[in-house]
């Protein structure tokens, strides 16, 4: 791996994160104005840039006795883990930031580690509402990590490899969304839960006055929202690679197919915020254990039978 390829990989993933996060913000505003029945305005495209500028202008508030280092680390680590998760997903047959033999396990490890910064973001301000948000998220992440990993596992059975490059290659004739119909919805629901977006927004809900971000402002808040958007981009990219055949597809070049599929899943994930109300914590956890994990296990069995 020559030095230029090394730097190119890092720059490429950085660019993908920034463009992806920006697209998430724009898609969120666009879908919001469609649902609210307002005309499309130029501020939908420029809005995210302006709110980032506002974040730079605004000062950073603090509380009486916070855990300062952990509070500062939280958004940084969250964005870093989202970038690491995205780095594993191949853009095309040849364009791949990190070709790792166990790419799937690394993606699962990044999402598992992402529990820590969200908990720290709620724990550090030493204020009751963010604290409740932090502990809610641990319940949510613990119960939705299993369906996420099992959905990804079911994809690696026919490919008999954990490298995402091989998983995409194994979908040459038939995409996994057709071969394993249960896989994509399970994965999207679990990935949206781990990124606590839309109806799964328990830690940052309005009933906790913003939850883990109730005490934050300025650039810390911008970094936090960018981290959440980046995690959504990583989930959409992995969904496209694992279930929609990645770069495979007639006509367009490989990377174009991958970008199109990722954008489709991204709009689906982002749109879920304006369609469904926030769930109740207890019911939502029981649903995962009682319904989603058995379904995911069934999906693994289907994958086994299909892959025979």
């Amino acid at each position: 791996m020559t030095a230029t390829a090394w730097w190119g990989a890092i720059a490429g993933v950085g660019l993908a994160i920034i463009v992806g996060a920006y697209l998430v913000a724009v898609a969120d505003r666009a879908i919001a104005s469609v649902v609210a029945g307002e005309p499309m305005r130029s501020s939908i495209l420029a809005g995210p840039a302006r709110s980032v500028a506002l974040g730079l202008v605004q000062s950073r508030t603090t509380t009486e006795r916070p855990d300062g280092a952990a509070w500062a680390l939280a958004p940084a680590l969250y964005l870093g883990l989202a970038a690491a998760a995205l780095a594993v997903v191949p853009l095309s047959e040849t364009l791949l930031a990190a070709d790792i033999e166990n790419g799937l396990v690394l993606f699962g490890a990044a999402q598992a580690l992402a529990v820590i910064p969200v908990f720290l973001n709620g724990w550090s301000p030493n204020s009751i509402l963010p604290l409740i948000g932090a502990f809610r998220f641990i319940a949510q992440a613990l119960s939705y990590e299993m369906p996420n990993l099992l959905a990804l596992l079911s994809v690696s059975v026919p490919a008999s490899s954990l490298s995402i490059h091989d998983i995409v290659a194994s979908q040459h004739g038939l995409w996994n969304v057709v071969r394993l119909p249960l896989g994509l919805p399970l994965f999207l629901f679990a990935a949206a839960s781990l990124a606590f977006w839309g109806p799964m927004n328990l830690p940052d809900g309005a009933d906790l006055a913003g939850g883990t971000q109730a005490e934050t402002s300025g650039l810390h808040l911008v970094a936090w929202r960018a981290g959440r958007a980046a995690m959504l981009v990583a989930a959409a990219a992995m969904g496209a690679a694992a279930f929609l055949g990645g770069w495979l597809g007639p006509g367009l070049p490989g990377w174009a197919w991958m970008v199109v599929k990722t954008l489709v899943l991204l709009v689906l994930l982002v749109g879920s915020r304006h369609v469904a109300a926030r769930v109740r914590a207890e019911r939502y956890v029981v649903i995962s254990w009682a319904v989603l994990i058995p379904l995911a296990l069934l999906n693994v069995m289907i994958a086994a039978v299909v892959a025979l």
Binding site: A32, A36, G37, A53, R60, A206, G210, H274, A276, R278
Partner: protein, 435 residues
Amino acid sequence: MTARASAGWLTAVAARAEAPVFLARGIGTADADARLRASPRLRVLDSPRAAAVLVVAGCVPTELAEPLARVHDQMAHPRATVWWSGAGDSAPPVGWSHATIVGPRDDIEAAVVAAYRDVITGARCSEQTLLPDVDPAPWRGVGPYGHGGTGMTGGIPYGRPMAGRGDDRRDGLTLDVVLARIGPFFAHLPEGLVLEVTFAGDVVHDLTVKTPPVAGVDGLGARLPDDAVTATMAPDRAVPVAAIELARARQHLRWLARLLHLYGLDALARLVATKALSVPREPQELTALTRRLERCWALGWATRGVGVIDGVSAALWGGPVARAAGIPRDARANSPVYATLGFQPIVHANGDNCDRWRQRLAEAVQAIELAARAGTAVTEPGETIEPAAPPPPADFGDQLAALLIGTEWGDAVATIASLDPDVNAAGYLSKGATV
């Protein structure tokens, strides 16, 4: 002029962003929430930390002045205040001389955006702290371990005690219980309501309602026709039915906008807020909205079976809460003018959060139909008017405590929001409960 404001182009870009607003709701301006939420150039936040403009709506009684100053100080710099005097045109107290004053009928949106632009670009300097800069928990370093405790526990580390232990109501583990006072300006509680909640984890272990005594609120007796429906009263003059029903529809839609924001559906909240400002004449628009909310299975799934009120306590609440629990009591049922309009009270069955928002939405649709059919019909003088949001029962605190102790905090807030007690209208605030 903070050093930051000198970075010209950055503040210019930031100035054209959506203004982050924190709304501190006082007494008297009912549609403050809907007006600010409906505007696409503002973003109403739930916490003052990331807000740049503090909008103080209505008249804030003297007891809420200190919490209001604290909310103002908790905002990030640069910050500005817009004082939007409601029915009673009370000027802001002495410390707020720098605030922009906006009358009840002026364009609040333009004033807020202007204040935001000035304070971001530095044309208007950021407001300083109002409360005295004395450390509220001064005592930090006394005692063998620097906090007055013994060994690894106790004392007042960094000036505040640690939470104490308490027996638990649900699973018997004696762990810490935290006393938190969810303050008068919490976005999703009724205006001015203070809840003293003891949390055991995220479950409400204990709950007492503390509403501040508000002297001088009774002066608001002369209510505008717009709010005629919020107080149970029998006016001695004839009131047009259309005005009553439109005010009822407006009240329900305002409430629905806030509830949808509580459940995370911000875009739908904005849509309902715009409908609340200009109540649609024909009910088709609302029936489309009703279908959309019915189809949104998640809203049903999140509210079904939560905060069930039935039987005696439902009757005490009266109004939509009682009707949602199956008690068909409605003052309009035995009024002759409504009989001519063919009015039938709407009733739901099991009195949980889900039925309450369905009840209010159905009543809003029915109110618009009645207003369309009423034309110039008027009520007789002395006839009682059915309030859209009746005042809460006398033992409001005990009712809430019985209902919410042992529930998770998210459900507790949703249940209080679903009751929509109009704490101000009944002068309830003037009962002598201390903060």
